[in-house]
Subunit: 472 residues, 2 copies
């Protein structure tokens, strides 16, 4: 495709996207297709000869769109948001158009330097400890997801604990290494244990309090028991915003335990870290000075389209020692000089896209004040929604919402709640998701879509009210 | 940004990309900036208030572009290609615009089904064994990179070898597990060993023959020695296109060794797999019926912009058992029915973009015949270049090029070769990279940029000829 043909088709695709975003509310939020129906509409074999972009866009509308669940709909309140925005899409377009590889500084210096720079901006924006900045011993990097960030942190902790013998010679021999997270921790922690060769069973799920936050005393007791059994505690993952209910683990007391025990403290703030843009929400990070690593996801709640997880380490040398490789074909003068960062040594894959562009453009489009306004709106709408739940005798608020997620349920059976969720999502008018808290089926109403307004939250509440009447 | 503002800015960004691609040859291929110079041109703190897209695009030109190394230039012959194309960029734009999450079938069925479908197409296109198709026990998935695919394969092999005890209880106890790859294998293999807790030292680098391909007899001898020492061989990674020289490991005899020893055979065809689009190059896959897993990178040599690695397994149950997690908040009827694929269990991260769109659109834009034509062109231009090297007494061809990469050197010192490379890249007119083969500094001339023509290869040869005269 020539650059001029790309220009023509590119304009058509931009129009398609603008029309999609403008009309996203006309689609049922949750896709209604049955398993296999998309494939049934696709040809069994690939085309031998070239097809036109017009044909592809027609197929996109006809075949693909019925199988889309609309995460960008302002009526999407399920899971967590994945709130893309115009400037972010523009940044992703530019990244695709430039088509560069950022594995080394030398393979496109701007890709590395803009990333380091914007991650230093974010340390200031979130008021994170200055030791995470790149001008000391720390530094930040963009990962695809918090799952990968958590894995990288665990690997560095594993190797630090063994003096990098595990990295060089493997885990055979030595005491079993154990890690800790709350019973509400994200599933990626269990997955990381399996990947790192530490074993899922060596993850201790620590008891939580009535707000579903980790109990530091329980953590200390678990550690003592493990030490008594000859195991070596190496790592704790604290959640700032658990997936089920955005519970905020208390970093201060957890961090004190980790320091005393010589353990790595990783803070997974994938969802709620963004709240720290606003001074009034910075209490969530109290005690963060104990952290060895920290991550949050601009692709969840800061208007950057997936994927964009920001990950910082207190001591980059530990991470790089764990993940570095230097084959001859990647050697270059800049790397040898020690004056540059090579991000291939900060992540699992070798190659990397220019993701800093979309992050940079999104921050500049909103400005810090604009981002703060949006976050305050979302939190205030969630509080408004929680107040409606509290005021309605048919419902109970399962936990006070710390940020923009409301966990609630009908004062009825699990089955009634499950039926209500299915009925709501079947309308196509909105979408919620569920979890279990204290074993009970709980509905999750997560505010944060880019196109959402207070009006969408109000309409959602009315739909939920009337569904409750239907379920009786 | 409203949909209408996005439309306006989106058109401007498409024009920027079209102008960029149309004028890419006006930039020096290799960026000339010094470490830190991009950061020096950026404001220390983030903006408080919103900035315009026009300002950002001006900064892109002024600050970022000098720090770009132009992988899309038709004069880029370094490393391996990363050949984006118009239809692929359009697909990436649509993926960003839709902004969906493909972690589960249920979170957007089209994302999963299109991916499964196009990976079945590719089994046919590359004439891979039918056991990789999704309608049997196997199946394919898009990974970010071959590094991640290799890691996933190694993890499944590790756990299969221990009956998944390593996954559940970690690697403590039991004999050391060892893996094998050639001395020319990609660095990701060493990194995967470190990540998986197996240890870099437990990767055996097997000797190669005069074409830099693994010697199966040497593999068998290494395995025998490890067994005699009480170690357990579990995995072999064969390269179809090594990074230094695109050496093709002989899958038939390697596969027979792996079968006999009960080892997992992973085939890393990241670079050269694409060649199998053409029947005349399918000899590279001879013996592939022994493979337990296979990957190749459409983002290298099949016109799909980074990231897009296609990865297949013979038995998806092994992979899923290794990587699955199922927290309550991800439970859903479709998953419970067993009728759908949930790709979160086929990869390291949880979240995933809609990458199948760009792969689908690229295949349809070119058609199979169009892709074959492009691959044949690239190989024939590389052969033409190799003939020039052979015909010029000042140069030697280090190895017969199996595909589109030519490895050559001046018949002179390593230092002279290094100086010639630096001089060539400093002109800004073209870019090559280097490696070491048999310990000697070797230049790599890699054909495959989307915009390259025979004329670019001819001009590159003239530039190299005259640089050789300069180095004398």
């Amino acid at each position: 495709m020539s650059p001029e043909d790309f220009r023509r088709h590119g304009h058509a695709v931009v129009d398609w996207i603008a029309d999609y975003l403008g009309g996203v509310e006309t689609h049922p939020v949750l896709s209604r297709v049955a398993p296999g129906s998309i494939r049934d509409a696709l040809p069994t074999s690939p085309p031998t000869h070239a097809e036109s972009v017009e044909t592809m866009l027609a197929d996109l509308d006809r075949v693909i769109m019925p199988g889309i669940t609309h995460w960008q709909s302002p009526n999407f309140f399920a899971y967590f948001p994945c709130n893309a925005s115009g400037p972010s899409i523009l940044g992703e377009m530019l990244s695709a158009g430039l088509g560069i590889q950022g594995m080394l500084w030398a393979t496109s210096p701007a890709c590395t330097e803009l990333e380091t720079h914007v991650l230093d901006w974010l340390v200031e924006m979130l008021d994170l400890p200055t030791f995470f900045r790149s001008d000391g011993e720390g530094g930040g990097v963009i990962q695809d997801t918090a799952s990968s960030a958590t894995l990288c942190a665990l690997l560095a902790a594993r190797d630090r604990a063994t003096g990098w013998r595990s990295n060089e010679h493997g885990l055979t021999g030595g005491p079993p290494l154990v890690a800790y997270a709350s019973t509400e921790a994200h599933s990626s922690m269990e997955k990381a244990m399996a990947i790192a060769g530490l074993g899922r069973a060596n993850l201790r799920l620590v008891e939580v309090d009535e707000r579903f936050a980790m109990r530091p005393q329980a953590l200390a007791e678990r550690i003592a028991a493990d030490r008594a059994d000859g195991r070596l505690p190496i790592f704790c993952c604290a959640n700032i915003g658990s997936t089920s209910s955005t519970a905020i683990d208390p970093l201060g007391p957890i961090g004190e335990v980790c320091r005393r025990e010589g353990m790595w403290l990783h803070v997974d703030a994938a969802m709620c870290g963004t709240a720290a843009l606003c001074p009034e929400f910075r209490w969530i990070h109290k005690g963060i000075e104990h952290a060895d690593s920290y991550c949050f996801n601009p692709h969840k709640w800061m208007f950057v389209n997936f994927d964009c997880d920001c990950f910082w380490v207190r001591n980059r040398a530990d991470l790089v020692r764990t993940l570095s490789v230097l084959p001859e074909y990647l050697r270059n003068e800049a790397t040898a000089s020690g004056k540059v960062v090579d991000y291939r040594d900060w992540q699992i894959p070798l190659g990397r896209r220019f993701r800093a562009l979309k992050l940079w453009m999104t921050i500049r489009h909103y400005g810090v004040a604009g981002l703060q306004r949006a976050i305050r709106d979302h939190v205030s709408w969630a509080r408004w929604f929680a107040d409606r739940v509290r005021d309605d005798d048919r419902f109970e608020l399962v936990v006070e919402p710390p940020a923009s997620l409301v966990c609630f349920r009908l004062r009825s059976s699990d089955d009634a709640n499950e039926r209500m969720l299915a009925a709501l999502n079947a309308t196509g008018e909105l979408m919620l998701s569920h979890t279990r808290l204290e074993g009970r089926y709980t509905l999750r109403f997560s505010v944060g879509a880019t196109l959402a307004t207070k009006g969408h939250v109000e309409r959602a509440w009315r739909a939920i009210e009337s569904a409750a009447t239907g379920i009786g």
